[in-house]
Symmetry: C2
Subunit: 479 residues, 2 copies
Amino acid sequence: MKLKFPGEDHLYLQVAEGVEKMIGDDILRIGDKLPSVRMLSKEHGISMGTAFQAYYHLEGKGLIESRPKSGYYVRFNPRRFADLPQQIDPGPTPIEKVTNQDMVMEMISRMTSHEIMNFALASPSIELLPAAKLSKSVMHALRADQHHCLQYEHAQGNPELRKQIAKLSFNWGGKIKPEDVLITSGCMEAVVMALRAVTTAGDTVAVECPSYFGIYQVIESLGLKLIEIPTDPVTGIDLDGLEQAISKHSVAACLLVPNFSNPSGSCMPDDRKRKLVQLLTQKNVPLIEDDIYGEMYFGRQRPRTCKYFDTEGIVMYCSSLSKSLAPGYRVGWIIPGKHMARVSTIKMIHSISCATVTQQALAHFLSIGRYEYHLKNLRKALHTQCLRYTQAIMQYFPEDTRISRPQGGFVLWIELNKHINTYELCVEAMKHQISIAPGSIFSNNANYSHYMRIGYGKPWSDKVDKGLKTLGNLVKKMS
Amino acid sequence: MKLKFPGEDHLYLQVAEGVEKMIGDDILRIGDKLPSVRMLSKEHGISMGTAFQAYYHLEGKGLIESRPKSGYYVRFNPRRFADLPQQIDPGPTPIEKVTNQDMVMEMISRMTSHEIMNFALASPSIELLPAAKLSKSVMHALRADQHHCLQYEHAQGNPELRKQIAKLSFNWGGKIKPEDVLITSGCMEAVVMALRAVTTAGDTVAVECPSYFGIYQVIESLGLKLIEIPTDPVTGIDLDGLEQAISKHSVAACLLVPNFSNPSGSCMPDDRKRKLVQLLTQKNVPLIEDDIYGEMYFGRQRPRTCKYFDTEGIVMYCSSLSKSLAPGYRVGWIIPGKHMARVSTIKMIHSISCATVTQQALAHFLSIGRYEYHLKNLRKALHTQCLRYTQAIMQYFPEDTRISRPQGGFVLWIELNKHINTYELCVEAMKHQISIAPGSIFSNNANYSHYMRIGYGKPWSDKVDKGLKTLGNLVKKMS
């Protein structure tokens, strides 16, 4: 392994960011030749290696390209993004019957095939995950545990894993203790238990619009009503709208994805998170915070969580390792604040505990620092993929296509010409072995039938490129 | 490995059973000397080895004992069991509020300590489980799966595991196809999903009395009412009582443990199972059949299941590997009959899928025949432990103690003098580092305060002997 001096990691990034800024400011334009590597090295007083690294980084992001025997050229201007998708008002009335169930189930049944080019998923490609090292942690767990992982785990979850998860919360400034954490079978079980703990059938839950289709399904399956609150594609849920909803209707809980919401990609600025928590504390409404994408940020710093601003224990924080490390291990957690006792009871009654071996393996993986290391690589890869997919969509799709600009997570939220029905597009695309998630499944009330979600969890390849090109052509045909 | 000829396995058992019958019929009495091994071999025309094996088997069961330099003597007469515990009528009215919650939670919190002599559990000791071979199957799964078990498993469960579970149903005459099976996180999740699929809050569920405390907790947590049906300690639920309850009240589902019910140990005879299924089919009431103990039978043949008699798909069969193979793996299943679509949806919405690695490991373990082999040993061990514990309780407890005679499973159901409060006994026993399950937690309506449940999952040892002796002395003091 190469020795790394502190700050060296930063140097090439600093240089790359300088070049990126010049492209953004139109000082360097698309097609312009960049200074040679030797020149860059001289100008900045850096080694040739660092100069190369800076260009590799920009090339990875798709911003520049190397032309054989000629050097590096500007390829893409990240400031020249397509317009953002527009916000749609879902209307102010709670809904009792969720109607998009059938479409979702049909879509999911299609998604199972491994043959297809699957843009419908919001999760990482397996090749981005540290498979061999995780397997080693499993073997370590089997050897190290005196009961060979055969014993039931504590209902609240493996103590070492809870300690590691408490440590993870440092990343967003949290002061969480291991006893504040309860391990669940993925984030979805955490959300279900949170809802069960603070609602009963017939209650109303406030959600973002658009929201992840799984949230609508859970709410319906628990016999709850829902009210959708308009949500800005950049800054998240409309706080005034939420306040009005709470005043007018009896809202039993609020269920949000404040960081890199799915599908819109919005990330609530921290001061809005603070206001949200203040509002809900004042109104005595529990906030179920789904932070499953929080660690997959592209910027310099992890966004804070609502839990960070929670002084009274009203935030029930839910997350998992399914999107960032090991989907098939089914390990998530909840930090349920003042509702811990109720959540513990529900967990114990309904499934006793989660699998022992996966919990112990992940506890080991996290405790030796491998997770933080992996996350750094994953974030870079996802950022690159996000830009690459965006560029390709801008290139292949009609000009009036609007694309979200997520600063983290796995998905692009795309608005097409309003005459295009993305469910029909979905059916057409399937004939070409391509799957997408049609917009209609992300709301029950607002009309997102000309929207769609594209997941960029799969690393860039010719096959991905071809898939997006085909999709673009289908859209053009339907225009 | 030693070669085994077909039938050889039977020979020593045949001889042992002959001796056992003579003891039972009082032809051989307690203290009588048995024929020498040489004599036995000659008389039956069997090898010395087989004769030894027959005596070892009887010694393991605690029926005979070897005295140094003297030979084998009759030690215990299995026909001279204590009286059976009595049935208590819970009364005919559905109950809305389950009241024993606090006692259960308190008891469970006590059970977590590994230091104590734990008679409160209804599960096998880890030393009875094939730990090393299971670990090998985990490693095999990690190597064999192209995605290293990182991918989400099918929502319905790993196909190979479902195939193996379908094959397991041959044991009770079932004709189950892999697509009839859905994998769950243990049997409890299966039961919860079955209840969710066929009931809504406010509905009434019929259960045995006594029933496993977890069943009361689940029913309460789902906002359901319950009606307890009198249950015979040998033949199970009273069918007339059940029919009356269904006629008088609107019963949405019936939730039973027909094979080796917990705590009573009752096993419904097959013809009663048939009648039960006919009755429920006719009344259109779904039967949730918890068969978690079905494979742990002591007799020559596995008892049938209600599912076997189910022609219309009304039986929702639930089971798991948690009691027989790998508690910490959290793998169970449901065969939900005509309710499959609803159950599948609930599973997918609430937890997406179960952990991949544990499913694939168990699929491998079952597919190479290791489970059947392990079960044979486990059954023998449990039968022996059951007899040993029974004998010790008869020896150490007051004469009026009544003890169940389970033909399978993990627990003895014990009735003490009715002036004794087993919750107080439980508190006293805890001071001696011994835990038991007090009778009160196994019903909401009937008064089982002088009953208790003793688990015999731990192999016989001096420590177990001492624990039961201490317990007996405590009971005597309280008499």
